[in-house]
Symmetry: C2
Subunit: 198 residues, 2 copies
DNA sequence: GCTTAATCATCAGTGTACCGCCTTTTATCG
DNA sequence: CGATAAAAGGCGGTACACTGATGATTAAGC
């Protein structure tokens, strides 16, 4: 029955099993509530033991902390990441930026539009290769990157402040190891190592 | 022109410097490219050393792996998380679900609508408290939770398969520690511990 | 009982993130 | 040189994630 993809990922024709009949509020409803097989499954691998779930939660917490520290700048973590890359790699095209940031190229375009509207970056077609649109910081953008850096750094610190320095280092090392081992997923393959981040 | 909020989030009045003037494509552009102060900042705390950035990347990788393993089911990680909670807590209202999942209540409503359209859950107003909308799995939903569980579990394993068992345990322990220490962010305060997840 | 406050759901709006398809431009091959 | 392939950007669509505001219902205080 295929059930197709979800989440914009493909799914040009998500018809799904075509079941829309409401449950009868009667009969089997109660069995449903206490299905022992399901309970056993959920207990064997509960939410809070699924690494993917934990990582998603931590990601959201970082967002919250970031906004707490960086309120007033009106910049999101992704936007600041993009600005950071532009600060060391001016005149980068969107594919390069996507690889460096590890996000999708269409998403990079979206973010760039917002940053351009705010006057933080400027975009123009490359003269060498007229397919490419190059982006660079404006002086306003440079200024903002600099002024906002302490707040951003504070947010990074706060995310891990519950850990001892040893555990923190270990955690970061493991994170980097995982990223390196899985650096093949998504439309953007994370080519950060190709840039001068050394 | 105020530049409004970002990302819907707070910032009740983040007016930011209110700059929208485009750069003149002339003059100071080249200085921008090689601003030494910015380069120093970026080198002091590059992207790949920012825990928030690393966590975001890992989160995305989990998504990619999840879809690889669970393709054909058309279920996202969040959707499966919600179904998992419903499998042990039938007839939960949306606020309870939001707290258990650690996501926003409006988001829970969105996800529930999609799951209902696919016939995996049923929703109805509570008779005791007519403000609440209760959700429960349909038999189709129960079936899917069960059939999909191995693929989901495989995705969880694959995320950490690059680690040795000791490092994996350490990583999970640290993740849980961080979540516990930061269990106060976001509109959902993560009341998972209040539910029967033990 | 009536006013007020709290709670739950929903709507509108913004931002991130991804996919598939299409057009333009460049590179490549015969 | 002309056809074809490859690369870059853009568009439309879907799913998450959260804020703020509004309306309905319940609970609390008088």
């Amino acid at each position: 029955m295929t059930e197709k993809k979800q989440r914009g990922r493909a799914a040009p024709d998500s018809k799904t099993p075509a079941v829309t009949e409401k449950i009868a509020e009667t009969a089997s409803a109660d069995d449903a509530a206490s299905n022992p097989a399901l309970k056993a499954l959920a207990e064997r691998l509960p939410l809070w033991r699924r690494p993917g779930y934990l990582v998603r939660r931590l990601h959201q917490i970082h967002y919250a902390i970031f906004f707490e520290e960086c309120d007033g700048f009106g910049i999101t973590p992704v936007q600041y990441g993009l600005l950071t890359i532009l600060s060391t790699n001016p005149d980068a095209d969107q594919v390069t930026l996507a690889n460096a940031l590890g996000i999708d190229r269409t998403n990079v375009a979206d973010v760039l539009v917002r940053l351009e509207q705010r006057g933080l970056i400027a975009r123009m077609r490359s003269q060498n290769d007229r397919r490419m649109v190059l982006a660079r910081l404006t002086s306003v953008g440079e200024d903002l990157v600099e002024r906002m850096h302490p707040a951003m750094a504070k947010a990074q610190d706060r995310l891990l402040e519950a850990l001892g320095s040893e555990e923190r280092d270990q955690f970061l090392a493991t994170l980097m190891r995982l990223l390196e081992a899985n650096n093949k997923y998504g439309r953007a393959t994370l080519g950060a190592s190709k840039m001068d981040h050394t």
